[in-house]
């Protein structure tokens, strides 16, 4: 099975990372708590996947304190938008009846 989809971007071809990027393409920005609520992921897993997306340059992460509360805000980068569009294009190729 894995071989069949080898041309799909491995960064996006993961359940949680794809969900994070899908949310971020449709909003201006979202914080960690919002992403956690919408994806239903654990804080640990979400944190790991956000870091991977950030290292790949797909998203931009800003950390700051609001009073005593830490706030991590994520936005999608132009590269992230392009990769997401390419990913959607690639999977739609698989979904077309052959």
């Amino acid at each position: 099975m894995a071989v069949m989809y080898k041309d799909l971007d491995p960064i996006l071809h993961s359940q949680l990372r794809l969900a994070i990027v899908s949310i971020l393409v449709s909003v201006e920005k979202a914080d960690f708590a919002y992403l956690k609520k919408e994806t239903g992921a654990t804080s640990g897993n979400l944190s790991v996947q956000i870091t991977r997306l950030k290292e790949a340059g797909y998203i931009h992460v800003k950390k700051k304190f609001k009073g005593n509360f830490p706030q991590t805000t994520c936005t999608i980068t132009t590269l992230g938008e392009e990769k997401f569009a390419a990913y959607v294009e690639a999977i739609s190729g698989y979904l077309k009846p052959r």
């Binding site: 909003v27 914080d31 609520k37």
Partner: protein
């Protein structure tokens, strides 16, 4: 290691994620109710203030005290809005593209209103009709963007009120302004607040 996704599963994730990132318009009701009430009270306070000053024959004080009356209510509303927003930011937060556009529209409208007040004082006219016109524009665009009909109807009321106000004398314009705010902001605000799910955007 995560299991390999099929294209169908990928598509489902994308569809689900995009549809859940829509925002509830309920939050917006706070702003319509806050500004609706603040502006109604400011207009009525100004109306009774002018009547009082005319009775006392203190004509020279009318302009300054009217500006102070408006300023007091507007600053009070801005403080309440600031406190509300700083509390809201402690909850989970998402800013949609629509939020950003609507914010820009209202900042522009706010600056235009200040300009209108300045220009109308300069030509010694009442700013009411101009302010209502700018409010109509910003309300119409916001209402169309969030697809909320009561707000669009509110915008039409503001536009009609602007025309009516331009034919009335100064103090009566304030009453038209107060009624327009009640119909254009308070009614949509309370409709959103009392509706069960608030409606998604």
């Amino acid at each position: 290691m995560e299991k390999t996704l099929t294209p169908e599963e990928s598509l489902r994730i994308i569809q689900k994620s995009i549809s859940t990132s829509r925002k509830n318009i309920r939050e917006g009701s706070f702003y319509y109710l806050l500004w609706g009430w603040a502006l109604i009270l400011a207009a009525l306070a100004n109306y009774f203030l002018i009547r009082h000053l005319v009775r006392m024959e203190r004509y020279d004080d009318i302009m300054l005290l009217s500006l102070l009356a408006w300023g007091a209510f507007i600053i009070a509303a801005m403080i309440i809005q600031f406190v509300y927003q700083s509390r809201a930011s402690k909850r989970e937060k998402v800013v949609t593209h629509l939020d950003r556009y609507i914010q820009i529209i209202w900042i522009t409208a706010g600056l235009l209103m200040v300009l209108m007040i300045f220009l109308s004082l300069k030509v010694q006219a009442y700013p009411t009709a101009f302010i209502l016109g700018v409010t109509a524009m910003a309300t119409a665009v916001s209402g169309l963007m969030i697809r909320f009909r009561p707000l669009v109807i509110g915008a039409v009321i503001f536009l009609a009120a602007a025309v009516i106000a331009s034919y009335l004398k100064g103090t009566d314009q304030l009453l038209v302004f107060a009624v327009a705010m009640a119909l254009g902001y308070l009614i949509p605000g309370y409709i959103i607040r009392t509706s069960k799910n608030g409606g998604d955007v």
